[in-house]
């Protein structure tokens, strides 16, 4: 979808710079984590070496006390290792959690700072994915992936070091594992991310289809779509199976290749060490220790390969999270203050796709206190004009201003105090009822909140809620009905108190059962304000001071209701048929 391209993704370099910057501020913690892990891994390498010595001593028939001493050394090394691991893991988690919190908070601040025009266009799908899936991938990578990879890398390299200390000639056979594993891993990591992404997406599609079948169960029954839904499920399953089989094919090559390679160090050390021992170049204990080390290489290499995949996903997630910071600002706030509350559009044209003007040279003066109704067929450009009049974005050509200042040059806070756009959309936020009403005016007193609710005729049910204004509503709290939600939206406006309102079909999606009731709430909000209403219902137009009829991006008729009836244009015809005349 074209919508997904609206929000940018940060490039590799930006991600790197950003991570480096964040790390630099925590250099000391990072150093401590690395130091502890290094020490712990080193301690863990002592036991095989000691066992090797025991083997040599047993072979040479050494004293019992010597064996006891070596066993005590193993125990001491283990104790040291476990204490170091304990502190290392804690320090690592502290650092990881802190970084994670920083990244997700920066992301949410980025979301909250997105320019109005982007929010209006981008839709919520992409942002939703970023806030859920990407934050989770990053969390998994940071909390488990980074420590696992760090441990694995340290273990592999230090184990090789231990082999070198034990018997330098035996390092070489350990290294023969590197070329095949390197090659096959590179191949795998090149193909795997896309494959696994497709796989998880195909599961998502399958679940979404099931959700639709369930959510639309009544529709499925009414339209007898059962057979189609089953076919749809089968098609989703086929796609999912294909995606699963693809990644399975990748694993079918990668796993045996990697797993078979893991045995090479052990085989090499044993064969090469055996020859060396038989020729008297090293002791049996040294061969034993090196063989045990070679065996110990398997687990961390496996870990490393497993987690590299997650690290890749985590990095991709981070680049999407950081991408938000690259959205350019859409306002050019100036210092000019409006002289009065006169809203004007002058010669305004606007296009979303270059060359396809949705609005053509529209001029409109809205007198303070005036009520304007805009009517016209869908696609005439009503909503676009509404957004421009509310200052959501600037016009391509012409200018929309209030008190002589272009809306786009007003700081957002200032603009909100002047004009508000009210659409069909309403949302009850997770939080108390009070929080929901005071969005635009957090300092509001309880009395003011109650007043606002009373104005929209919502105080009755609000006070009847279990904890009154403090009742938790929205997701996880008490569910409010659509009309209650709409009343909350209106109460927010009463508190925010802008002098001009642009209503874009604000009540059109309501159940007709409650629409009438809400219109009374609405009229309380509109009282004393300038109103531009994009109307579905002709009675709204009838009540307005001025009716504007739009067709094809232009104003085709304009004037008070009765004047338009006398003129006898399209509006008059519509009105007549509405009244059955």
């Amino acid at each position: 979808m074209a919508q997904s391209q609206i929000l940018p993704v940060a490039g590799g370099r930006q991600v790197f710079t950003h991570v480096k910057m964040v790390m630099a501020s925590r250099r000391r913690e990072l150093g401590a984590v690395l130091g502890l892990y290094f020490a712990a891994t080193t301690a863990g390498l002592i036991p095989p070496r000691m066992l090797g010595s025991i083997v040599t001593d047993v072979q040479n028939g050494a004293a019992v006390s010597r064996i006891d001493l070596l066993a005590a050394a193993i125990a001491a090394a283990l104790l040291a290792q476990s204490v170091l691991i304990r502190f290392g893991a804690l320090a690592g988690a502290r650092l990881g959690e802190a970084l994670l919190a920083t990244f997700r908070e920066e992301f949410v601040d980025g979301v909250l700072g997105l320019p109005l025009s982007v929010v209006e266009r981008a839709g919520s799908g992409d942002l939703m994915t970023r806030s859920s899936r990407d934050v989770n991938s990053l969390s998994l990578a940071a909390r488990q992936g980074v420590p696992a990879v760090l441990t694995a890398v340290l273990t592999v390299s230090l184990t090789l070091g231990a082999v070198a200390l034990d018997s330098p000639v035996l390092v070489l056979p350990c290294l023969i594992v590197v070329p095949p594993v390197w090659a096959v891993t590179r191949w795998y990591l090149r193909l795997a991310p896309a494959g696994y992404l497709r796989e998880s997406a195909s599961w998502g599609v399958m679940t979404d289809s099931l959700a639709e079948t369930v959510e639309g169960a009544r529709t499925v029954e009414a339209l007898r779509l059962g057979q189609l839904r089953r076919q749809r499920a089968d098609a989703d399953i086929r796609a999912c199976y294909a995606a699963e089989r693809y990644t399975l094919r990748l694993r079918t090559i990668f796993w045996p290749a990697a797993e078979a390679s893991y045995v090479l160090p052990l085989f090499g050390v044993l064969a090469f060490g055996g020859v060396a021992y038989l020729n008297g170049w090293c002791t049996l204990g040294e061969v034993t220790a090196a063989a045990l080390y070679a065996r110990a290489l398997v687990a961390p290499m496996d870990q490393l390969i497993q987690w590299l995949n997650y690290l890749q996903t985590g990095t991709a997630a981070l680049s999407r999270l950081l991408g938000l910071t690259e959205v350019p600002a859409d306002r050019r706030p100036g210092l000019a203050a409006p002289d009065d509350s006169q809203l004007s559009a002058e010669q305004v044209s606007h296009a979303y796709v270059p060359g396809h003007d949705v609005l053509r040279r529209i001029s409109l003066d809205v007198r303070p206190g005036e009520r304007i109704a805009i009517v016209g067929p869908s696609g005439a450009g009503k909503s676009t004009l509404g957004r421009l009049l509310a200052g959501v974005h600037g016009p391509d050509r012409g200018r929309v201003s209030i008190g002589g200042v272009p809306l786009i040059e007003l700081p957002l806070e200032e603009l909100r105090g002047q004009i508000a756009l009210v659409t069909q959309e309403h949302h009850i936020f997770q939080g108390s009822l009070r929080d929901n009403v005071t969005l635009g005016y957090p300092e509001a007193t309880d009395a003011a909140v109650a007043g606002a609710l009373a104005a929209v005729d919502a105080l009755g049910w609000a006070e009847a809620l279990p904890c009154g204004l403090a009742t938790q509503v929205g997701s996880g709290g008490i569910r409010l009905s659509a009309s209650q939600a709409q009343q909350i939206a209106l109460a927010r406006l009463v508190l925010a108190d802008p002098h001009t309102l642009v209503l874009d079909e604000a009540t059109s999606l309501l159940d007709p059962r409650s629409a009438r009731h809400l219109e009374q709430s609405l009229s309380a909000v509109l009282d004393g304000r300038t109103v531009v209403a994009i109307a579905h219902r002709l009675h709204t137009a009838h009540d307005a001071d001025r009716v504007i009829v739009m067709e094809d991006g232009e104003i085709s008729e304009s004037g008070p209701h009765h004047d338009l009836l006398v003129t006898g244009g399209a509006y008059a015809a519509l009105w007549q048929s509405w009244h059955g005349k």
């Binding site: 066993a71 304990r86 959700a211 009414a222 055996g274 034993t288 309403h426 009244h579």
Partner: protein, 566 residues
């Protein structure tokens, strides 16, 4: 590889969750068994390595070159066998996992379709959807673990045999001490699980908070309050961070203990074994074998713990699936259905007095719109326990539900728009030609949707990419295309502007020529086009006539449809 999905998932055994899982296994008994065979070979190959290693050390110590060469070859061969049987096992159990998961998806989809309206009333979408996400994973997981589980048992048996053959006391130490250590570490894990649960809960709450901000972003950016939301998110995020560190503190002790406890056990076993070796009871190579097994044994034992856990979780999930599959439709239809009335029969609702004959376009205006909605449900055969509406004199309750749905369609505004192509969406279950589709789109004044989406274009689920008015007109076009004998349109133009509404009203008659149509609305533009308008007051048809007649005659009607203006 097997062909999936299977054409018919079959009839599951719903007697109990375990029967259900056994039924799933029974569909693919051979594959599950083969998975266990590969799993066992895979683990046994790994379990033999320490023995071979010990034998190699002894061969070296005794300068037996040939034996040593064989041992080296065996190490290599066991590595290759491990790699091969490992992937064979994985392929086999993955197929079994998918077979089970896909079968569950098919069963639940099929059953949801069969339950229809009942499902929406009894369960939330979330409950059913969790089947598609978590539960298929858990049930599949219980089947998946059979391969590795069987392998773990085989490995323990092989290791026990080898150790006991070498030295009875040393073998017993390892075989008793190893499981004891595993149990001890498992015991330590328990409190950690609870803390992790708290972390996950907080993580979920934080994700919900972020989703909430995103979902309400337009509102928030329109009216303000970003500071408060940022602060609230930050404090929740910091709480999660603190909990994370708190969990990590417990976890870090465990990380240490996981090294220390088994390590100390291995050390003790090795120390004892070394004394045996010094006394020549065992060879140096056997000492190496004991050492390696003392730590190796933790792997199959952990797998067994995991298997127990997977099976329990799988059964719990299977229980949820079984609960859904056991639900029965509320309106089951009569056991002994009456013969269906002939085509073009008249619909009669005795409770309100509404009659709709073939070829009629009836407008239904209501003083109280809630009662109109009840009436719609009644004439659609969705309500029980009231005098039923009848079609051609046959009460709807005497007809099979399928027949009722086929002949009477109640089109409501919350009808679901499914993700998929526009044509597919509109065609629904029927076979329709392109001219039909275009005619329905035109009748519903939905050309603008066609122009932006295209006939083959994709619609998002719930019509998310459409405006409210567009979605409503797509629903209308879909309802018109079914050509249902009786079509009940509930508020079909509530989200449409007056210009478009007028156009739709004019088109309705042509589109529904020869069939019975009820339009429930208080809009004068629609009612004016009806052959007859019925005015519903206190649940009964109080007055009938044309829109203009009623407007002139009945002040109550005029008030209801013009909202007291004009």
């Amino acid at each position: 590889m097997r062909q999936l999905p299977v054409p018919d998932p079959g009839t599951p055994n719903l007697a109990s969750p375990s029967r259900f899982v056994l039924w799933l296994i029974g569909r693919q008994r051979g594959s599950v068994l083969l998975g266990m065979v590969w799993g066992s070979s895979w683990m046994i190959a790994q379990a033999l390595v320490p023995a071979v290693l010990g034998s190699a050390v002894d061969a070296l110590a005794g300068h037996r070159t040939i034996a040593f060469s064989w041992d080296c070859a065996a190490v290599l061969a066991l590595g290759v066998i491990t790699a091969l049987t490992g992937i064979l096992r994985h392929r086999m159990v993955l197929t079994c996992f998918l077979d089970a998961a896909f079968r569950i998806m098919q069963l639940v989809t099929e059953h949801s379709s069969r339950l229809g309206n009942t499902l929406s009333r009894l369960l939330t979408t979330g409950e059913v959807v969790s089947v598609g996400t978590a539960d298929v994973d858990a049930v599949g997981g219980a089947i998946d673990i059979t391969g590795r589980g069987a392998g773990a048992i085989a490995a323990v048996v092989v290791v026990a045999a080898i150790l006991l053959a070498r030295s009875l006391p040393l073998g017993l130490i390892v075989l008793i001490g190893g499981p004891a250590m595993t149990a001890l570490v498992g015991l330590l894990l328990r409190p950690l699980h609870q803390r992790q649960q708290r972390y996950r809960d907080l993580q979920g709450a934080l994700a919900t908070r972020a989703a909430d901000i995103v979902a309400g972003l337009r509102v928030l950016r329109g009216i303000g309050g970003e500071q408060a939301f940022s602060a609230r998110y930050r404090s929740q995020s910091q709480e999660l961070r603190r909990t994370g560190v708190h969990v990590a503190r417990t976890e870090s002790y465990l990380n240490g203990a996981e090294i220390l406890l088994p390590g100390m056990f291995v050390t003790a076993a090795t120390w004892i074994a070394a004394h045996y070796a010094l006394r020549k009871v065992i060879t140096p190579g056997q000492l190496v074998t004991f050492y390696a097994y003392a730590s190796f044994l933790a792997v199959p034992l952990a797998t067994l713990t995991e298997a127990a856990d997977s099976i329990v979780r799988g059964l719990v999930a299977a229980g949820r699936v079984v609960t859904i599959l056991r639900l029965e439709p509320e309106i089951a239809g009569p056991a002994d259905p009456a013969p269906a009335p002939p085509a073009g029969a008249t619909l009669h609702d005795p409770a309100s007095g509404l009659i709709v004959a073939r070829g009629e376009l009836v407008g239904l205006a209501a003083e109280n719109p809630a009662q109109a909605a009840e009436l719609a449900d009644r004439i659609g055969g969705y309500r029980l326990g009231e005098p039923a509406a009848s079609l051609g004199g046959v009460p709807l309750t005497d007809l099979p539900v399928g027949i009722v749905r086929e002949r009477i369609l109640v089109a409501v505004n919350d009808a679901h728009l499914f993700a998929g192509g526009l044509t597919g969406q509109l065609a629904g279950a029927g076979q329709v030609s392109e001219p039909d589709v275009l005619a329905a789109i035109t009748a519903a004044s939905a050309r603008d949707v066609l122009d932006t989406v295209g006939l083959d274009g994709h619609l998002a689920a719930r019509g998310r990419t459409l405006s409210g008015g567009q979605a409503q007109r797509v629903r209308l076009a879909r309802a018109l295309l079914t050509g249902a004998e009786i079509l009940v349109l509930v508020e079909p133009t509530s989200a449409v502007d007056a210009h478009t509404e007028a156009a739709i009203a004019r088109n309705l008659r042509t589109a529904r020529q020869g069939a019975g149509t009820v339009v429930i609305s208080n809009s004068p533009l629609l009612l004016d086009q009806a052959d007859r308008v019925a005015f519903l007051r206190d649940g009964v048809i109080a007055e009938q006539g044309t829109h203009r007649e009623l407007l002139a005659r009945s002040p109550a009607y005029a008030a209801a449809v013009t909202r007291g203006e004009g």
